[in-house]
Structure formats: structure tokens, C-alpha cells
Symmetry: C2
Subunit: 162 residues, 2 copies
């Protein structure tokens, strides 16, 4: 088990170093591939309600996730999260641990459900992981994800009550 | 058939007069019930790509809709719209005309599909209308809409390829 703790501004250089290539790849997130470092800070840290980092015992940042209401007003009791694992830390259970942590935190904060809005159908490993944590594919949106390598592929909406 | 034309800043007082009670009611939109006039301008006019008004031959504003990409980057080819009809103009086909107009405009602008993210399941008339225009319920999210009168009810995701 790794430590998961609130993001601190001093983490941003480390976090940006591994979220940047994920955004540039255009294979998983519904944000511009050419997003700048400052714009990414708004997206990942400033606009969400909370942001966390997963660190090892040397303080290396292995992953990060944000947590926010998916909609406002009548939709604000449903949570939305985004998770990114450092490329160098893949296969060590970081995403699973962040997922479990996020569900626990969201529930503690009073959220009723968790929703992911745009899960690229090509992201098989992530989909399997989320399903094993109780997230369900509730919709498949034809051609809704314009994958940098695969072109327009389907995207899933995933949802679970917490 | 009414005229549908681009929103002009001078329309805002008229538009606000009939969108305000809709937001305050908390029965249809995933935005704060207590949204201010200025916040609503950001939400309805400034942040979207385009905003339109539907007017009668005396220039009275009967309805309005906004149009924007539903996500960015790999999700920016899917359009999202929101529509509100002036309470005093209900039952005259304004919503249908705005819906048809929005699909035409979205297609013309190069969008591939239209998506509504949070359609309250209680909003039967709207759902029937959108279905008659080719939108399909692709997901039902349990308890995702906290309706001001009905409490937590289901919400639909609706989608169609343009």
C-alpha cells in the first residue's frame, strides 16, 4: 500500500511530468492534446474540489487523481474523478488504490454516486479495473471519442452508487 | 415558424426573465438554483460556442438555446445544447423548432453527434420531444438528479449521431 495524500503545489512539477505525456497522447482524456502546463493546473488542481497524489516511501509521485461534482445544483451529489498513473509506476496497483481511495473519500464527502463521462472503449485495462471496483458501463456512446491513433471510437459512461 | 437568430447582448434582460425561474425551480438543469444573473450569463452565453434566441414577429423572445462542445480534445466533436422556452410561449412548438435548428447548426459546424448529459426522468414532455427528433436514451443514471420537488430521481443521457 502506498500513501495517498492531498496534492500540494510543490507536487505540480512532478505531476505535470507524467500527466503531460498522457494528455499529449490523446488516447484517454477529453481535454485538448496541446493543453499548456498552466491550463492543466486549472483542469487538474484548481477547478476540482480536491486533488490527491499517490507517493512511495521515497516521496516519488506515482499517480494522481482529482475529485469534483460532475454537475452543479441538482447534479452536484454525483462525483466525477480522473486518475493518471506515472508511466514508470504502471502495474503496481496504483490505479486500483487511487480508485478505492476516491470512492471512500467521495462517500465521506457526502456524494451519492460516482460517474465517469468519457471512458475510451480502447482503454480496456482501465475499464476492467473500474468494473472490478463496482463501476458499471451504463452507456456506450458511438464514435464519441476521437482517439489520436484509432480515430473515432466508442466511449463509455460508467456509474456506480457509492 | 418563428425566427431563430444569434443572441445579442441586448437580449439578455429578456432571456434572463424567463430562464431565471427555470433555474430557480431546480427541476431541469444541473446548475445551482441560486445562480446569479452574471453567473447565468457566463453559463448560457459566454462559455458556450454559440447562443440563439427564438423570436416572434414582434421581436418577443420565446426561447433560447446554447451550443457547445460536450468535452474538449478527443471529445470535442460531440455537441451539447441546452434549451429553455419562455413560460408564456409553451405549447407553440418553440422547443421543437429550436431542437431542429440546433441539430442543423451543429452538423453545419462539423459536429458528429449531439449529447444531453442530464435529462431529469421527470421531464417527460422534453424526453418525448427529443426522442421524436432522433435523440435516444443511451443511459439511465439512478438517482443522478436531485429534483427540487421529487428528490433524487433518475437522469438520462441522450445521444444521436447527426
Amino acid at each position: 500500500m502506498f500513501e495517498i495524500r492531498p496534492f500540494h503545489p510543490r507536487d505540480w512539477d512532478a505531476v505535470w511530468s507524467f500527466v503531460k505525456p498522457v494528455f499529449r497522447a490523446g488516447e484517454t482524456y477529453g481535454i485538448p492534446r496541446d493543453i499548456t502546463k498552466d491550463e492543466a493546473f486549472l483542469y487538474w488542481v484548481k477547478n476540482p474540489k480536491e486533488t490527491y497524489v499517490c507517493v512511495d516511501d521515497k516521496g516519488q509521485v506515482l499517480g494522481t487523481y482529482y475529485l469534483k461534482p460532475n454537475q452543479l445544483g441538482p447534479g452536484q451529489h454525483v462525483c466525477n474523478c480522473g486518475y493518471i498513473v506515472n508511466e514508470t509506476a504502471r502495474g503496481r496497483g496504483v490505479a486500483r488504490q487511487m480508485g478505492e481511495h476516491s470512492f471512500k473519500m467521495a462517500k465521506k464527502m457526502g456524494f451519492y454516486a460516482m460517474q465517469y463521462n468519457l471512458v475510451a472503449a480502447s482503454n480496456i485495462a482501465a475499464i476492467k479495473l473500474w468494473e472490478s471496483l463496482g463501476m458499471e458501463i451504463v452507456a456506450t456512446l458511438p464514435g464519441a471519442f476521437d482517439h489520436a491513433k484509432l480515430g473515432r471510437i466508442d466511449a463509455h459512461v460508467m456509474y456506480r452508487i457509492l
